[in-house]
Amino acid sequence: MTVTTVGSHGGLAAAPPPEPTDPRTGAAAAYSPARTLPLRVEVIRQLRRRRTQLGLGFMVLLPFLLLLAFKAGGPDNGGGAPGLVDLATVGAPNFTLFTLFASTGFLLVVIVALFAGDTVAAEASWSSLRYLLAAPIPRSRLLRQKLVVALGFGLFAIVLLTAVALLAGWIGFGWHPARSPLGTTIATGTAFVRLLIVIGYLAIVMLFVAALAFLLGVYTDAPLGAVGGAVVLVIVSNILDAVSALGNLRQALPTHYQYSWVDALGPSVSWDAMTKGALYSIGYSIVLFGLAWRHFLRKDVLS
């Protein structure tokens, strides 16, 4: 049996006197709540996780998988949006639009829910949350920094997917002007502006997913529960949206306008649906974030 020695503790004997303190707060002088959990630190903590790497890696992989599928099978009439599938092989911008279209309903939802739902719940499951809070990182600051990083990763995932899809489309189908389902073409410069609008709108739509997952993640100590719960609720919303008997009530469903970014592909951008979708998404998100904050600021951390 080997005996591990604990060390000589020579350093402890020479330990310096305690640091000066701030008389008003009683804190160590060098401590400031505003400097706790810098974004860079949280980014490193998240980026080194296999989960983050896999999620982002899949964003790189998916366009090439789709490319292979198109090369192997040729275009297929998959239904859904007006012909984005049929136009997928026209060129890089169209391939990108199709990739985004194929990812909007589920893949991006899962990725965004993963980043936003897991960030607090995972700390709770590792028991590291209590040490961060006792560091002390003020609770509101912890939520804020974690949310900013999670949203940043979500946005990065969307941008990464778009960029890789452009690249994959370029490799696979060359660079040809984008064609809208209306038959009109969109010049490259305009197409980039439209893509930015699409990404921006997708990000706003996904904000709701992030807010939902974040709220669940603040409630539960089980990361999978938060992510899965959010995904399931989004799917339920999608299912309700398919029930035409609900009529106009469906407009208030948070996922009702999730594909409205297609409206940016016409000869001119039609903002109506996107405006409504964005306002609904932001509105729901504020409520959900508000609930998350309310709960987390008051909760007894037992994990």
Binding site: T4, V6, H9, G10, G11, L12, A15, P16, P18, T25, G26, A27, A28, A30, Y31, P33, R35, T36, L37, V41, R49, P82, V90, W126, S127, Y131, L132, L133, A134, A135, P136, I137, P138, R139, P177, R179, S180, P181, G183, T184, T185, G189, T190, Y257, S260, V262, D263, A264, P267, S268, D272, A273, I282, I286, G290, W293, L297, D300, V301, L302
Partner: protein
């Protein structure tokens, strides 16, 4: 609402879906409207027979006093029932509505004379007479009711003519109708003069090309309307004969030209004083936009208010826009019949179909744009144009003998359906036949072009034939492999006469279209020799076609979106969002600042820990801690001792700000603890086991934790922490691979980062092996020796005894004992004597001097020796004949502990 386009049964199929079905469905559901049907005698027909019209009067039931009236005229081939839905709508809005079947249609008698001023137009005056006698109808003066007329197509021309011939008409809404029937059925788009307005036509004085398919539908419908199989059906004989003769020769007979001219609004536009809302359809190959413009121009020239609306529908289907047209009509009548005082609105409105996409219904979405007026029509000046360079040299095109094969661009009533096929790429092969077309193209556009109206091109046509029949169209040509699009499937026929061998230069008005042409697209002018919709020359010809001027003049009317998505709403929404967030942030900041400011007690700044009256009750009533008070002084190593479940961990969690106390408070260096209290930066804690992200190495965990604390790295004293962790090279492995003991040591090292003034360790020796436990004891006492304070919680007596200077004993959430270890464990403690005669022992002990107390216990006698050596007591007992089998120190701490824990311990 004026979409009733029953010119032909074929197109009725498309249109009925819009209005007809709605009419029957809605009819029974209008309890607030009284409907009265009656036959109204109106006079004789051209054949001398007496004619009565089948009418229905719609009166609002809640009508008090009088109301203005509206006459609704139906389309060709229809009857009064087509207008029921709209009549009910008007009645619901307080109008008295009158629908009727025109002569020759429905149950009305008489023959069709195509809106003749002598018959159909006079009928309208008889109906106005009828309204003038109804006491419920508001009168402008005796015999002159306040009345408006609305109608589409056949009813639209009637509307215009009635307003021209009968000055009692106060407002009209004619829709998708003709200006000059001759130009509609024999269109001629070769121009004499430059254009001044967006869909101008100034045809050269040569009869145009016979629009045979539409004409056949038009006249065929009238012929079918009868029960008896005759070639003329209900058409009056003169009309029937003129049409048949014209159709047979493919060009209008003089009789036909005279009849068409007599029955066209063009003749009487200068008489129209009734404010006119003129609606024309973009999807209309029968009465194209140029007809509406000509009407609007003629009426506006009188100074009469005219509003022109180009909507997305028409005889070819397109976009119905029912709601929008309804509301435009209601507001027009409201302004000029009810005199509701709303501001005049003569802005030009144009629908741009396919302007945008929408995901909600997978359909392209139109957008409606406005301009202050239509230049040259309802406002001064002329439509601004832009000249685009055209390329393409002289091309020879052939017209086949017998006019076959001929291009197929559209079907009457189905133009836009073919257009959709064309967009899918299936039609270009039949809309332009090889050898029959000459094409001229612009360069790719450098900016989006909002095409609104007719473009013009100057052509030179040379040939050997005595005349020429050509069809001009304008295509939107996307870049890449996408198919060109022929917007609305519209073509502009040209008929040239006279010698062509020297070449004839002609200005051609291309079809008026509304479309956004994207950047990068080209415009292509196509000149074809054939089109199946028209009568074609029967002899084979060849023409040479070239550009007389290398430019295409396109209208670029300045239009703006009518209803941009309500920006006010967006900004208000965003404003509220920002305000809510700002308010929440401010409230949080103020509360935090107040809490921290109110949390300081200057008298206690040197006391590491003061707990007073602390209590925690969880939801559901379980009390983990009750009324706990104690104080820890600097330099102490305090043991928090108690069995599992005593509330130790809950207390430490409250100390870390993780759990909110329900009563009492905790002060660290005088500052009250709350979640995230800054003073916690001077506390290092290890509570309930380690907590590390498993994907990080040991060293990364420590470094990133310290960076999360946000203090300078030199304050961390990482070397000391690493020394305490004692993990060697393992510190560079992921913590996922660590054993429990390694995690434990890393956790303690993390708690000691920054050498906090108050170090809190919960069960620190769990999982450590004996040498490590000994080392840990050493570390903690050295740590306290630096003037810092340590709190250790444990359920093990020995650990506390060996490590701590002071002890707090807890059980079931309460404090049961506190003091120094020396006080509680000190030499003056009790001693247990195992004896055979306990009663005798107690008696003897009580008699001995120095012994403070003696009492029976469950396994012997416990005495408080107060310094008396146990050996002396044993000697005395043995001397008294009492057998002693064991002597054991019975410490008070353990006694307390045992009492608390019960009988589990022996």
């Amino acid at each position: 609402m004026r979409r009733r386009t029953t010119v032909a049964l074929t197109c009725a199929a498309v249109i009925v879906a819009v209005g007809g079905i709605g009419a029957t469905a809605v009819a029974g559901q209008q309890p607030g409207v009284t409907q009265t049907a009656s036959m109204v005698p109106v006079g004789n027909g051209p054949d001398g027979s007496k004619v009565s019209l089948d009418t229905t009067l719609f009166v609002p039931k809640n009508l008090h006093g009088t109301a203005p009236a509206v006459i609704l005229a139906h389309g060709f081939g229809g009857n009064k029932d087509d207008e029921t839905s709209e009549a009910l709508t008007l009645a619901r809005h307080g109008y008295i509505a009158l629908t009727y079947s025109a002569r020759g249609f429905g149950n009305s008698g008489g023959q069709i004379t195509l809106d003749s001023p002598d018959y159909e137009v006079k009928d309208a005056s008889r109906l106005i007479d009828l309204l003038a006698k109804d006491p419920r109808v508001h009168l402008d003066k005796p015999g002159d009711p306040t009345v408006g007329i609305a109608g589409g197509s056949y009813g639209g021309a009637l509307t215009l003519e009635a307003a021209g011939y009968d000055q009692r008409v106060d407002a009209i809404v004619p829709a998708i109708t003709w200006n000059e029937l001759g130009q509609s059925l024999f269109p001629q788009f070769a121009q004499t003069a430059p254009a001044t307005n967006a869909a101008d036509t100034a045809p050269i004085p040569v009869p145009g090309v016979f629009k045979k398919q539409w004409a056949a539908d038009f006249f065929g419908t009238g012929s079918d309307a009868g029960v008896t199989p005759t070639t003329c059906g209900k058409f009056a004989a003169a009309y029937c004969a003129a049409y048949q003769a014209s159709a047979a020769q493919g060009r209008p007979t003089p009789e036909m030209l005279a009849l068409m001219a007599a029955n066209s609004p063009a003749r009487i536009l200068d008489r129209i004083k009734a404010p006119t809302l003129l609606i024309q359809g973009e999807a209309d190959s029968l009465f194209p936009l140029s007809e509406g413009d000509a009407n609007a121009k003629g009426i506006a020239a009188n100074g009469t208010p005219v509003k022109v609306v180009w909507y997305g529908g028409g005889h070819d289907g397109g976009l119905p826009e029912t709601k929008r047209i309804d509301s435009l009509t209601l507001s027009w009548f409201g302004r000029y019949l009810k005199k509701d005082g709303t501001a005049p609105d003569t802005r030009f409105e144009v629908t741009v179909p396919n302007a945008a996409l929408t995901a909600s219904d997978s359909q392209p979405k139109p957008s409606v744009r406005v301009a202050p007026g239509l230049p040259g029509v309802t406002s001064t000046g002329s439509t601004p144009t832009q000249a685009l360079n055209l390329t393409g040299g002289q091309q020879t095109v052939v017209a086949p003998a017998g006019g076959s094969p001929a291009a197929l661009t559209g079907l009457p009533g189905f133009g836009s359906i073919l257009g959709q096929v064309a967009q899918a790429g299936g039609l270009s092969s039949i809309s332009q036949l090889p050898g029959q077309v000459a094409t001229f193209e612009t360069a790719p556009l450098t900016a989006t072009l909002r095409l609104t109206g007719s473009s013009y091109v100057d052509l030179k046509v040379t040939g050997t034939a005595p005349d020429a029949t050509l069809f001009a169209s304008l295509l939107d040509v996307p870049s890449g492999s996408a198919q060109p699009v022929l917007p609305q499937s519209l073509v502009a026929p040209i008929q040239l006469s006279g010698p062509l061998n020297g070449g004839q230069t002609v200005r051609v008005a291309l079809p008026a279209i509304v479309r956004d042409i994207s950047t990068g697209h080209r415009l292509r002018v196509v000149i074809s020799t054939t089109d199946q919709g028209y009568a074609l020359p029967q002899t084979a010809r060849a023409y040479q076609i070239s550009l007389a001027a290398p430019t295409l003049s396109v209208p670029v009317l300045a239009v703006t979106a009518l209803n941009p998505s309500n920006p006010a709403l967006v900004w208000i929404g965003l404003g509220v969002v920002v305000l809510v967030l700002l308010a929440g942030w401010l409230v949080l900041r103020v509360r935090t600042a107040r809490r921290i400011a109110a949390a300081s007690d200057p008298a206690l700044v040197d006391i590491p820990l003061v707990i007073s009256g602390l209590g925690k009750a969880y939801q559901g009533g379980f009390r983990a801690v009750s009324d706990l008070s104690f104080q820890v002084e600097p330099g102490q190593v305090l043991g928090l001792l108690g069995p599992n479940g005593a509330g130790k961990t809950t207390t430490l969690r409250m100390l870390m700000g993780l759990i909110q106390p329900t009563e009492g408070e905790i002060r660290v260096f005088g500052h009250r603890i709350s979640p995230g209290a800054p003073v916690l930066s001077r506390v290092g804690a290890f509570v309930e086991g380690p907590g590390f992200p498993p994907h990080l190495t040991g060293i990364d965990n420590l470094l990133l934790y310290w960076r999360a604390v946000g203090r300078p790295i030199e304050e961390a004293h990482l070397d000391i922490a690493l020394e305490i962790a004692g993990l060697g090279e393992d510190i560079h492995r992921r913590t996922r691979t660590y054993s429990h003991g390694m995690l434990q040591r890393l956790g303690i090292a993390q708690a000691m980062l920054g050498l906090p003034e108050l170090l809190v360790l919960d069960e620190p020796t769990n999982g450590l092996d004996p040498p490590q436990i000994r080392e840990m004891r050493d570390v903690l006492s050295r740590y306290a020796a630096t003037g810092r304070t340590v709190i250790i919680s444990s359920h093990l007596l020995s650990e506390v005894e060996q490590t701590c200077t002071d002890v707090v004993v807890m059980d079931r959430g309460r404090l049961v004992a506190q003091g120094t270890v020396a006080e509680l464990v000190g030499r003056g403690g009790s001693t247990l004597f195992g004896v055979d005669d306990e009663d005798a022992t107690v008696r003897l002990a009580n008699a001995m001097p120095g012994i403070i107390s003696a009492g029976k216990s469950h396994d012997g006698v416990v005495m408080d020796l107060n310094g008396t050596p146990p050996a002396d007591v044993v000697a005395a007992l043995v001397a008294a004949g009492i057998k002693v089998d064991r002597v054991a120190p019975q410490r008070r701490l353990e006694e307390v502990f045992l009492t608390l824990v019960g009988q589990e311990h022996s």
